[in-house]
Amino acid sequence: MKYEILLGDEAVALGAVHAGLSAAYSYPGTPASEIMEFLIKASKRERSFKASWSVNEKVAYEEALGVSFAGKRALVSMKHVGLNVAADPFMNSAITGANGGLVVVVADDPSMHSSQNEQDSRFYAQFAQIFCFEPSHHQEAYEMTRAAFDVSENLGIPVMVRLVTRLSHSRSRIKARPPRKQNPLSYGLGKDWTLLPVNARRRFKVLTEKQAELLRLSNESEFNSLELNDSDQSLGIISSGIAYNYVLENYKSEPSRLSLLKITTYPLPEALIARLINHVETILVVEEGYPFIEQSLKGVFGVKGKEIRGKLSGHLPLTGELSPEVVRQGLGMKALPKRQLEDFKLASRPPQLCSGCPHADTYEALNKALESYPQANVFSDIGCYTLGAFPPYNAIASCVCMGASIGMAKGGAEAGVYPSVAVIGDSTFAHSGLTPLLDAAEANTNMTVIILDNAVVAMTGGQPTFATGEKLVRMVEGLGVAREHIRIIEPLPKNFEKNVQVIKEELEHKGLSVVIASRECIQEVRKRKKKEELD
């Protein structure tokens, strides 16, 4: 087969299609979105499998689990914090086990390029006691996703593929292999999938009994490699995933000097680690994310007679992503000469709301309406509108996780914050805003929720939303918010005075109000116009 150019995300997606995928589910989130973008395009072309965005990661996971129950192969993909949302079905799917192959792809975001933390999903794989692959390059992303389906079906467990931003969003060439057929329909056993205590206890035992087999697979995996060098036994390196590339980058002119273990599978391949440790005096662990391997090696008491180096020892930074030069330093090599800006002062160029963005008009109206309330607080959520934290708006005081704005505004109001305002986008509202609003409606909390309805998932590139327009209004009403306190504004400069007035009235209402600021994302308007011109 010919080479093709793919993002790391897309290599995973293609691997899944070629593994005989029947259905895939996801919720948009950087750096994982391109997996589903690719699958949706491919499914439209091939019409042999299903690929769709779900309302949130938990739902996506449950949909994939249903496919697996039915004996077919399913992929569910998400960004790292998405797995927090899906943690309930994820943890329990390790107990039910997989019938058809079930692969969960999680893209971590070290350095928080577009995230609120840099949690390391390998801990989740360990927590659930499942198998995990961590590819170091594009071809491996493709191959390991195919292998993940095999492990899942052979062992009857879900399998994780862990990506990081730099692989997800890097493009390179890969060579695909011929695809295989999908599975036929074949139901799972009710006694395995009904996690009543009597069944769950038995299933948990089954999972723990599989651990020896998982370890054997990891020790024997063709994707791991160990090189032992007899000429220099002072230093040995353990590296995983893309961190392996940074090690080789620095040793490319003298690879013969190295004792190097490349880890791409979890549970940790203990036999390979033991062989490396016995061979050298000092071990440097180079891994992207938290010091997962280093901590496992070190434990409480360390390894007798050996020095373990890595992030915990201070040889590599504990936060942020790795880079060739950071690893170079950790290896004790001299830095490359580089140019300096010296006295020149660089201005930063942070991301900002687009010119003509509806959120800008909403924030201007909200800021004006709140001018006479010095004690006001605006709890925000996750989306483009989080950029309202920056000048010239300086409009928001929080951003924690999907849907948190509404729950926090309720808690804040009950603690005495007035006015207590929540700002949330339409897609985030559908993802995780319905349940807290139901709570607030039940209590008729004195707070104002502003739903920024731009009719799209804007920040991640324009995926479809589940709650917009008239349907969104009916959803809010259905949750129990009084119709007369559901107000709809059109955020445009010409409506400024009117919008300020509406927001003020609802701030003054002693109870729950929802103001829906409804205007299509400016990027989507542009895309639509461009498409119309072409047609």
Binding site: Y3, H169, S172, S323, K338
Partner: protein, 192 residues
């Protein structure tokens, strides 16, 4: 043979289109390549960059080590300076002189250009002027690709082929504008 290139610009200036053309030309020429890019929040009018590595041998890191870039190719002068420390001592700068002023504290343009000129090998072209001459100010990215083309390890005809592929879906007129932009950029660089 290898060439490590930092592509720089502001979100929306089309640096990923430059990357598309180079990636595909590299694939056609049988080279290995890796191209790390920025998606998500930073694309909203913020600084964006792409690490593009071409080689006749295996490439390890997706990121170019600071001090190893052979070329710094930028659609915006201030963005050139943001990645200054990536450029190797022998590296070349190919940059636009047209500032993208979406921030309050943009430094004096003369000071920016003076700093860029401190690099021995530098090609500075007025991408806005040339793009307009080609037919659209949006074609500045292809002007800059043209300006870089004499220094790339890729064949000119392959770059041109994939500019066609890239813009074909938007009609022949757009293709022509972008090819003209490429030629004008290329001519300007050769004259310097």
């Amino acid at each position: 043979m290898k060439q490590d290139i930092i592509l720089a610009g502001v979100g929306g200036q089309g640096i990923l289109s430059i990357a598309f053309v180079i990636d595909n030309a590299a694939l056609k020429e049988g080279l290995s390549f890796k191209q790390a890019e920025v998606h998500g929040m930073s694309q909203r009018g913020g600084a964006v960059q792409s690490h593009l590595r071409l080689s006749s041998r295996q490439i390890y890191s997706d990121l170019i080590p600071r001090g190893e870039a052979d070329m710094l190719l930028s659609v915006e002068p201030l963005e050139t300076l943001r990645y200054f420390d990536y450029l190797s001592p022998q590296g070349i700068v190919v940059t636009s002189s047209t500032p993208y002023m979406n921030i309050q504290d943009y430094p004096e343009l003369d000071a920016v250009l003076k700093k860029i000129r401190s690099v021995e090998k530098c090609v500075i072209v007025d991408s806005e002027k040339l793009a307009k001459e080609a037919g659209s100010s949006r074609a500045q990215n292809m002007v800059m690709l043209g300006a870089a083309s004499p220094f790339l390890m890729l064949k000119r005809e392959n770059l041109i082929e994939f500019i066609r592929v890239l813009f074909q879906p938007r009609g022949e007129k757009i293709v022509e504008i972008n090819l003209r932009a490429f030629e004008l950029g290329s001519d300007a660089a050769k004259k310097l």
